[in-house]
């Protein structure tokens, strides 16, 4: 074993830029996934069969196929089909956002179902319209309960984001690989990238804990 971290020192700024690249598409994907996931969850609990069917089919497809395949389809196959030129960044956001929405929708659906039925009845008895009831009464309670599960999903997404390196997006992972090829040493840059992923996840976990404590104020 002869580790030599000195060789990657010149590449550190290059690798660190990968943090920004990764965080940029991960955070947008999380937002896309969260909003779409919430809408899908609401479709799943409606009494409209068509909406329910669409949301269930969507979830089944995105959970039932590999994420890397979805990414490849969006990046390589969609341009072939439509002639549209789609950048690696947009592909990454779409693949991760759409995929995450499927998982998030299941988490939120379960969270909504777990809210006491009496809450809905109390709101209905007061004449509160459905949309307000969802936004102000049901979802806040649901989110409080599912925060750990949501946080887990965001962490998974952050780690899985490394597969965008396969479509050439210059994220943290891809940059570590490039450096490895440049200096004919893989262990050091990969270990360095691994450390950065771990720190990002660590920070996310801490933020999750903080938000959770905030929301537990009414307990």
């Amino acid at each position: 074993m002869n580790l030599d971290f000195n060789q990657i020192v010149p590449y550190i700024p290059f690798i660190l830029e990968g943090i920004v690249a990764t965080l940029k598409f991960v955070s947008i994907s999380i937002i896309v996934g969260f909003i779409l996931g919430t809408l899908l969850a609401i479709c799943k609990i409606t009494k409209v069969p068509l909406l329910k069917w669409i949301a269930d089919a969507y979830t089944s497809i995105f959970r039932g196929t590999p994420l890397i395949l979805q990414l490849m389809i969006i990046y390589f196959a969609v341009p072939q089909l439509t002639g549209l030129d789609i950048t690696a960044f947009v592909s990454a956001v779409l693949a991760f956002g759409l995929n995450s929405a499927a998982y998030v929708s299941e988490i939120i659906r379960a969270g909504i179902m777990a809210v006491d039925k009496g809450q809905t009845e109390a709101a209905e008895a007061l004449g509160v319209p459905y949309k307000s009831m969802m936004l102000n009464i049901i979802l806040p309670q649901a989110f409080k309960n599912i925060l750990p599960a949501l946080m887990n999903e965001f962490i998974t997404l952050t780690k899985e984001s490394a597969i965008v390196s396969t479509i050439g997006y210059l994220d943290l992972m891809r940059r570590a690989q490039i450096v490895g090829a440049d200096i004919y040493r893989n262990f050091e840059p990969l270990l360095f990238a691994g450390l950065i992923y771990w720190v990002m996840v660590f920070i996310l976990t801490k933020i999750g804990g903080l938000v959770e404590r905030r929301m537990r104020q009414s307990d």
Partner: protein
């Protein structure tokens, strides 16, 4: 003001209400009593359409609320409901619980809603708890907040479904006292209750349900001293 004719409700094959016809006048306080499972809650919940009746009609202020296209929200605005298990919104303070619906449903400004809310919270004796979350309250306090929350919509009718059944005995009185006060203001009240003394003392009329049938209705004094049906006799023997 409330008139039900042949009101029926079936869950699957279970016929829970078998044609209830009755009239509740403006300002009347009506106690609904009967054995467990006799359909009392279902009857009450039909009145604000939390349950959709299977057949029969309900008229409120001469409007048929069981007719095909009705605006449920508009009907419910005028009918407050208090549940056995309170169902306060746990993520809102007492004041927020009380002022939420007036703002959302009646478009009151925050100031107007707060003024109204504080007045009602004072009425149920909980001014010092305005900023507390429900989990900090005793059962009796929760139920008083729930009453204030329903009153904040300034409804014409109040429905109570066993409002004291989930309470420790020492808290029953504080809730019943609030309801007594309310009864003296001329509010139309329909109360499902096992508090027979309360029914005797406060109600203008008693409805006795058994097996989904309105077996008896009438003046509480008469009902409690000489019930007409053997069913009611048996029931009263058990509970009194």
């Amino acid at each position: 003001m409330i008139n039900t004719s042949n009101l029926s409700k079936t869950f699957g094959k279970n016929e829970v209400l078998k044609g209830i016809s009755t009239t509740i006048k403006h300002g009347e306080v009506v106690a609904v009593i009967g054995p467990s499972g006799s359909g009392k809650s279902t009857f009450l919940r039909c009145l604000n359409l939390l349950e959709q009746p299977t057949s029969g009609e309900i008229h409120i202020n001469d409007i048929n609320i069981t007719a095909g296209k009705v605006d449920k929200l508009k009907i419910r605005k005028n009918i407050g409901m208090v549940f056995q298990h309170f169902h306060l919104f746990p993520h809102m303070t007492v004041l927020e619980n009380v002022t939420y619906a007036p703002q959302k449903v009646k478009n009151l400004s925050k100031q107007e809603a707060n003024r109204l809310g504080k007045e009602l919270i004072a009425k149920v004796g909980l001014t010092d708890k305005e900023d507390a979350y429900p989990n900090r309250l005793s059962g009796g306090q929760k139920q008083r907040v729930a009453i204030a929350r329903a009153l904040a919509m300034e409804p014409e009718i109040m429905l109570f479904d066993e409002p004291t059944s989930a309470l420790d005995p020492e808290m029953v009185k504080e809730v019943l006292d609030v309801m007594k006060d309310l009864a003296t203001t001329g509010m139309t009240m329909v109360i499902v209750t096992h508090e027979m003394n309360f029914a005797k003392e406060v109600a203008d009329k008693v409805l006795f349900l058994d097996g989904g049938v309105l077996m008896e209705e009438g003046d509480p004094k008469e009902f409690f001293t000489e019930p007409k049906t053997s069913r009611a006799k048996d029931f009263l023997d058990k509970v009194l």
